[in-house]
Amino acid sequence: MRIQDVAFIALFAAVTALLGLVPRIDLAFIPVPITAQSLGPMLAGSIIGARRGALSQVLFLLLVAAGLPLLAGGRGGLGVFVGPSAGFLIGFPFTALAIGLLTERFWAGLNFWKSLAIHLFGGIVVIHAFGIPVFAYVGGLSLIDATIATAVFAPGGVVKSLIAAWVTMFVKRGYPVIAPGASPAEQP
């Protein structure tokens, strides 16, 4: 792994932390405020790829576990890994991994809509696949009840997927990291 890769991993851990500082968006038609934080793993996967993206999220979780208040609302420490929403956090590296793998696979012909589909899958399906079982277990709910209870996050996931797909295409045109060979900056 090159030094650049280490720097990219650190960068996206920091990006995820920074997104926790973004004021949460309250939409009238959704009962749960949207925090921008889970945009971090999505962008990590689609901008620096599967392996580096997943590692960046592991690093982020490590910093949170160590006691830095990097989660939305200034939360952090070991306590967040035993609460009802711990599964969503554990899902961060896997979200980055899934989005990274798919983005790398479809990189050559990637357009906004394909990227949107990838982000919807990773940012909603994958993260809920980790979030729901833990939520159900800690909260003593059945999986179906837990799915219904966490469905309130889905509209936020759609908004974040739209943003992430747009940013992915912007970066693909401007400064691609996944396949730098195609970058205009690299060509003579």
Partner: protein
């Protein structure tokens, strides 16, 4: 940036970070497995009584529980409707004791000690290419990047303001990404040029 650690000279502060983490993991398993309501209530009281032992203010208990209070209340209300008062109470007691116990570790352990233990525990990441020296570099860089990114973000927003860019400020994310990716690439070169051994 402030860590969550609160400095005091208590016996709990003096315990090693590794042993505190292990005890809290064992305690968490016990809390999850315990069924009787009176025992769960006892555990919550016992965990809460560790806070005065650690010479932490009572406010620390409130602050540790605040983030989960809302979701705990919602879950208990749901349980009350689905399974009755006993289930509702045990769900609430369980979540509150889990969070209180693990928060105690965070509040009484220095950030650097915690990072030491966690980076040692993360040694298997070497298999994915992040060997211990590289992980240490990444930890340092990530912490340093956060204020840098904030500054970059402000610069981009000011540039947008200066040219009266249309559209929500959200559109600043695209240029910000390109800017920081370029900066990070250059930073990698700079670190390599200063002799960071890439083979480690």
């Amino acid at each position: 940036m402030l860590a969550l650690y609160i400095h005091r000279g208590s016996p709990i502060h003096r315990l090693g970070a590794g042993s505190k983490i292990l005890v809290s993991i064992a305690g968490s398993f016990a809390i999850v497995l315990v069924k009787p309501l009176w025992l769960l209530a006892g555990i919550l009281l016992a965990v809460a009584s560790l806070y005065p032992v650690a010479r932490l203010p009572l406010r620390a208990i409130a602050r540790a529980l605040k983030p989960v209070l809302l979701v705990t209340a919602a879950l208990s209300a749901l349980q009350l409707a689905l399974a009755g008062p006993a289930e509702a109470a045990s769900t609430a007691l369980r979540i509150l004791s889990l969070v209180l116990l693990t928060s105690l570790v965070t509040l009484t352990t220095r950030l650097s000690d915690m990072l030491d233990v966690l980076t040692r525990a993360a040694r298997p990441l070497a298999a994915l290419g992040l060997s211990p020296p590289k992980l240490a570099l990444a930890v340092g860089l990530a912490i340093r990047f956060i204020p840098t990114l904030l500054q970059d973000l402000q610069e981009i927003q000011q540039a947008r303001l200066a040219r009266r860019a249309r559209g929500p400020s959200l559109f600043g994310i695209g240029p910000l990404m390109v800017k920081i990716l370029r900066m990070t690439d250059a930073l990698g070169d700079a670190i390599a040029a200063r002799g960071f051994d890439n083979r480690k």
